[in-house]
Symmetry: C2
Subunit: 509 residues, 2 copies
């Protein structure tokens, strides 16, 4: 590998402002054109595993290459391998919807590239984050106890999983600290959730060393719309207590990933309180909707919880990574996450005049993420953000009503937000008007085939869930560019594909 040992070449400074200006303008136009043409690309990438590794050179290039060449390669090699999350035909997983305001914020935060581990390292980064988190607290009508004006506070994490990890540590250290639980008892701690809770919780438990056998994934039922029942929760906790285990933490969800189910906070937090359990509310997807007064009721009972998080990087016109977490007592969070090395000692921190966000998260370093959230909120305003939510909800309502009016389909759970879960009712089940095992299996098989056939078109992309044994297609309406015409197109396609499918089916039976 001695070939890397070559003579230095004379080049411009890599941050030469005029070269920066020239090249960045090129990429702006590249991306504006990408958005203009985005509907021409298959939504889900059609490449085969290994497509890029086969194409790319095996070693890094020795010499600099011009931006024009690199952009040609992006077009030729990268774009075909991208699943276009910003496409209006993207209805998969949950959306991660970007926006111009967000993009400008990302440009600025990347351009400044401050490393805001503590206040001193870049005061604006810390203070803007505090400002934005207080704005959002008011917008979501979160309890005042979550505010910096009280004992609480908010922080921007990279992901819900990070918020799980940090609040699990907070709960663990609080229990160890307050109740004199011994560190040897760590193996007795138990965490509660439902079988609809995001699987990141399981992973977060694994990260912080909770015994995997002590994560209770409590069964939910279709008749309860997949909400966690307080009776079920109580009885599981009681049985653990009888077994000498220590209830530690419960995760409740507003808008679960499979079906956007909403766990009832009021009754469940009552149960948790009886056993002195830390309650975290994960509203990753649906939290954004709660800025509209007509959806705020889904957060009723939030006063009774210890922490709350939602992801602007899903449905708040903000790109990855941006998860907002609030806690009722910031000391709970910082107890387990603080460090105080000599290297970072400074007067403002020593005097406790400032927030040092390194003590609110896993990593030391942190990007200036508040910048993009601040840009989004100012660029669109509260009314603009509410408009976006309402537009998507109305599109989902319309799509749901079309499904309901067509007896070949079942909307499997009532829609709460802008995600619709549906399936085909198999003609066999329809004919016998009972949900026989065969009918069920046929419905699952047909629905899976429909999903594959729709996604195969390249015009749309959706994903699936299996709930209570039922295979459903999830239609998450929330890409920024989605308009009524795209939902109409989706409905036309669904009808066309299902007709073909059922024609073949009838032919077979």
């Amino acid at each position: 590998m001695g070939s890397y040992n070559v003579e230095p070449t004379v080049t411009k400074n890599p941050l030469n402002p005029e070269e920066f200006r020239r090249q960045a303008h090129l990429v702006v136009d590249f991306l504006a054109d990408y958005y203009s043409n985005i509907e021409k690309y298959p939504v889900c990438s059609q490449v085969e595993p290994g497509y890029l590794t086969k194409t790319m050179p095996e070693s890094a290039p020795l010499q600099p290459e011009p931006i024009e060449t690199i952009l040609q390669d992006v077009h030729k090699h990268i774009i075909p391998g991208i699943t276009h999350w910003q496409s209006p035909g993207f209805f998969g997983y949950f959306q991660s919807n970007g926006s111009t305001g967000n993009f400008l914020g990302e440009m600025l935060l990347t351009g400044f590239n401050t490393v805001g581990f503590n206040w001193l390292a870049s005061p604006a980064a810390t203070e803007l984050e505090m400002v934005v988190m207080e704005w959002l607290l008011k917008l979501l009508q979160l309890p005042k106890s979550f505010s910096f004006c009280s004992d609480g506070g908010g922080v921007i994490h990279g992901s819900t999983c990070e918020s799980f990890v940090c609040t699990l540590i907070a709960a663990r250290e609080k229990k160890l600290n307050k109740f004199g639980t011994k560190r040897d008892d760590l193996g007795k701690f138990v965490v509660y959730c439902s079988d609809q809770t995001h699987f990141s919780l399981q992973k977060a438990c694994q990260v912080v060393g909770i015994n995997p056998d002590n994560v209770r994934s409590i069964e939910t039922k279709k008749c309860m719309n997949f909400r966690l029942s307080n009776d079920a929760l109580s009885s599981v906790i009681e049985s653990d207590v009888r077994a000498g285990l220590i209830p530690l933490y419960a995760c409740l969800t507003i808008g679960t990933t499979p079906t956007t189910a909403v766990d009832p906070l009021i009754t469940l937090t009552d149960v948790a309180k009886r056993f002195d359990i830390w309650v975290h509310v994960d509203a990753a997807y649906a939290g954004s909707a709660c800025i509209c007064p007509e959806f705020r009721h889904f957060l009723d009972g939030i006063e009774g919880v210890n922490s709350f998080s939602f992801n602007p990087h899903k449905w708040f016109l903000t790109t990855l990574d941006c998860c907002c977490l609030w806690v009722r007592d910031r000391n709970d969070l910082t107890r387990g996450l603080s460090t105080n090395p000599e290297l970072l000692k400074n007067k403002a921190s020593d005097d406790k005049e400032v927030v040092d966000y390194k003590d609110w998260q896993i990593a030391l370093s942190r990007r200036f993420r508040a910048m993009k959230l601040w840009m989004v909120i100012r660029t669109y305003g509260v009314t603009g953000l509410q408009d976006v939510i309402r537009k998507h909800v109305n599109l989902a309502k319309r799509f749901e009503s079309l499904l309901v009016a067509d007896n070949r389909f079942e909307v499997v759970v009532p829609r709460n937000f802008a995600t619709v879960c549906f399936r085909i009712i198999s003609p066999l089940a329809l004919a016998t008007r009972v949900s026989s095992d065969n009918g069920e299996d046929d419905s699952n098989r047909l629905t899976r085939t429909l999903l594959e056939s729709l996604n195969g078109s390249g015009l749309v992309y959706m994903t699936h869930a299996v709930i209570d044994g039922i295979y459903v297609i999830r239609v998450a309406i929330g890409a920024t560019l989605v308009e009524e015409t795209h939902v109409n197109m989706l409905w036309d396609m669904v009808q066309e594909h299902v007709s073909d499918l059922l024609a073949k089916y009838v032919h077979i039976i």
Copy 2:
């Protein structure tokens, strides 16, 4: 808060391509001008705690605001609160040096905003990461066992702390799995490092539930240039084993944060091997230098370790967040971090044809970080990147030689890379030619005062370390825009300020 409940307004789509184009061009010019003018701003922000919270409105704006207004506010309110990490006068902490190539990569990855948790969710994101990690593996001459072609592989994390957490989990689960250690024995696991190791390791241990009493921070000495000694390591481990504890993990550092010390890998890994300890090498800062053949010897012995990480977001023209981690056995890493939820099931994953990076990190979601690293490597080429490293090292060499030639200063540890640690020798110590306690204290006090006085000028910014009781000024030379003229300016300032300081000092005694 009913005031948020207002009628929808009609606005353009938040990703309208022409509006995107217009506004993004504005911000490109804003940032190019920022870089042109960066030397006009005080390097370290001079604001007081609370400066921004006092200025900003208490609630989010109801109506959209034009980008021109927002950019004015960035200029007026944000820039004064920024510590300018991209300024050529920034010599603090370790640099985080951005570049045009990196910026273009960040633009593209933000613009595409793919959420690449698994291969299918955006194949290009996964495959480009694999390509780039193999390029870097070759460039750093890492062992072939770390390659995807063998049992290893590389992944981009957000921070070194995340790499610590994930490799600690890998070590823990391997121990539990392979040796049948019981989960009840978790409290017996011990982690080893030196008193120079980055404090993030302590935090990572706390995160994964290692007993804080079981993290051994082994003392280093000035006479050993603050390198971890294998005798010290052996004897601490032996004593733990005798006490019935279980040695788990050791972190060795190439380029420690206080002084850029280099732990000797060859002898230390021999010790670790005897006790079957997972060895992680943290080369966060100095790893980048090892792409130059003349620095590669610092990695000698890397064949004997389990995992290795370095941060392109320090000294590789790449902005936050970007930490590259390689492991010798990818199954070790994924054993403790894998999840397999129904929602993400797909043929490519089921057939094990692809890498699903969600199983290599803490979070599920991940940004397309490979894009910026790929852009950096192609834009500058290997030779361009080596040039940057060598330029900074040569500037540091020059600064060191100026200090050495001036008997008022001591270079406290020999410079390994581009960071120089120096202090004032107090005239008292100089006069008596012994390092009396008084002389030591005076040196510390004088050096601290010098640092405060230099930073107070606003023209430069440096930070400090305390090693073996000695207070040193750290000069980390590595901002992208730094040129010889800035280092000359720094030297002129140091001489001027120290002359003033010593004049006062002599006056006092």
